[in-house]
């Protein structure tokens, strides 16, 4: 229970909805006649309009990046660690915007919203978005908010890739770019893990070819399994050993004790999977993992990452996390080296941690200090 919100929190926040009535054309040619984006903002946009910062969320993230939706809210937004008054992304100085990506399931137009031309939920018929589609839709949102340029675009994981795409697609819009635990494109191993997750969902009998909402079903087992696999790739082996070891949650190995035993790590994964399966839309998970698979920053520049990043005008902060094996430090180093070869301003750190890919969301003194110090160069001085 949070009756009194922490002093360094952005406090109570309310999601807002932007309506776009002009047709939106996706990179794959699909068209939405109209759509909505749900977003939150923290801090105030200044008169000069030069203190706006965009936060891009990761695979299962949302627009709710910081603060609380009600005084009884037990958990703040997903990146409350970094966003707030006096925090690294300081809302005393900066106007922070975070939107739910098109095709997601937290309020923006997506598979679980109504297709006005049929009157039914989109389900499996919602267009496949790509990262560049999200960037263009966020640009429309920015313009509707009176923003003409981002002082910074910031994200981790998929959000980091989106931030890089921003810097490449709209160079004069992005003054600073922060990409944490990101990659310039997915590897075969990354795609393989995503395929396992999708396969789990698609093999659930309640998947109904993506039409589960209309048929009043929920492929919860498939989504839970997808999440368990995904979650495993977010943690490091050492981190899991420290946290769970070989501890039992239930039962014992004592002779004569015939109860079924459950390891702590099993219980944890089951809990994560089951909680996620009722909160996250299955079609969205399929669309998001496909968008990740399709991401390849260099592809529009003949596979040349240096050529792609040469477009950018931003200064970059690239950070990796030492035990991250989903997007390992080497992937961030590829981005860093391409940026340097392109003659861009770049700072790079590899944060020492056992937290794996999740490191970008978790407390770490070096990481927080680095982000805070680097962010001082963002926005009006």
């Amino acid at each position: 229970m949070t009756n009194k919100l922490p002093a360094n929190s952005v406090g109570l926040v309310k999601p807002q909805t932007a309506h776009f009535h002009a047709p939106f054309t996706f990179a794959n040619g699909s068209i939405l006649a109209q759509h909505e984006l749900v977003y939150e903002t923290y801090g105030e946009l200044n008169d000069a309009g030069d203190n706006a910062v965009l936060i891009c969320h990761a695979l299962s993230g949302s627009h709710h990046a910081a603060g609380f939706h009600s005084a009884d809210d037990r958990r703040p937004g997903w990146w409350d660690l970094a966003i707030g008054p006096g925090k690294p992304i300081d809302t005393n100085r900066l106007f922070v915007v975070c939107s739910n990506n098109l095709g997601c399931c937290d309020g923006s137009s997506g598979p679980n919203t109504i297709n006005l031309s049929t009157g039914e939920a989109w389900g499996g018929t919602f267009p496949q978005p790509q990262v560049s589609d999200w960037v263009r839709s966020q640009k429309q949102l920015a313009e509707s908010l009176g923003i003409g340029r981002w002082a910074a675009v910031i994200g981790g994981s998929l959000g980091g890739m989106q931030a890089l795409q921003w810097a490449v697609d709209f160079p004069d819009w992005v003054e600073h770019c922060v990409a944490l635990a990101a990659a310039p494109g997915l590897t075969a191993q990354n795609i393989a893990f995503n395929e396992i997750a999708r396969h789990a969902i698609l093999s659930d009998p309640d998947w109904c070819e993506g039409d589960y909402l209309a048929q009043n079903k929920l492929p919860a087992r498939g989504v839970a399994l997808a999440r368990m696999v995904g979650h495993l790739t977010y943690m490091s082996a050492d981190g899991m050993s420290d946290r769970f070891g070989r501890e039992l949650r239930e039962g014992s190995f004592a002779p004569g004790d015939n109860r079924e035993w459950v390891f702590q790590v099993e219980s944890y994964l089951r809990h994560q999977g089951s909680r996620f399966s009722t909160q996250f839309d299955a079609n969205t998970y399929v669309l998001m993992t496909r968008a990740l698979d399709l991401f390849d920053l260099a592809s529009e520049h003949g596979g040349d990452l240096v050529a792609a990043l040469s477009q950018a005008q931003a200064s970059f902060l690239i950070a990796s996390f030492s035990s991250d094996w989903r997007f390992p430090p080497q992937r961030s180093i590829e981005i860093r080296d391409a940026l340097m070869a392109a003659g861009k301003s770049v700072t790079y750190a590899n944060i020492e941690t056992d937290d794996g890919h999740d490191g970008f969301l978790l407390p770490n003194p070096t990481y927080e200090a680095l982000l805070a110090q680097w962010m001082r160069r963002v926005g009006p001085s």
């Binding site: 200064s315 700072t347 790079y348 944060i351 680097w374």
Partner: protein, 199 residues
Amino acid sequence: MNRLDLRTVLDWVPTGSRVLDLGCGDGTFLARLRDERAAIGVGVDIDPNNLVAAVAKGLDVIQEDINDGLHCFTANRFDVVVLAHALQELTHPHIALQRMVDIADEAIVSFPNFGHWSCRLHLGIKGKMPMSRAMPLHWYDTPNIHFCTVRDFEALCSALEIDIIERATISGNAQHLLAKWRPNLFATSAIYRIRRSGG
């Protein structure tokens, strides 16, 4: 540590240069280069606390181990590469020197001179590895694993086909003339401007 060498390095960096500072520490010197020499600097350091401190000074820093070969730095990106009092900490000083003159037209290197008479006296009389105020650590737990002398360094440059453009020395009180006359005996530190032969 005697860091009079940095004054010389500062004087040698042309105004407005693009500078790569290897082993930049907390960025104090790179910030001076930026503020006093209008240098566009990039620092390299392995230590996370140094990294944060350098970022706090508004600098661009790359966390990287110099011993890994500096492969991320392509040619023509920098005018000057600086390695100030870090040569003796490297696993392969000769490889780093070669990379430095490849990366930039000119490299500036400073190091403590192990040929100084006090080091020789220490080793000669006591028969033990020299320790002093400037070098307070025991041989077994010092990061300085590759001490060299002025003569050693110049021989290495010659072997690597690296030209010495200029040499400066730092010395104790009233020994400036002696250091100029016999640098290997009287310089506590030496500073060199070097470049690839024929470059």
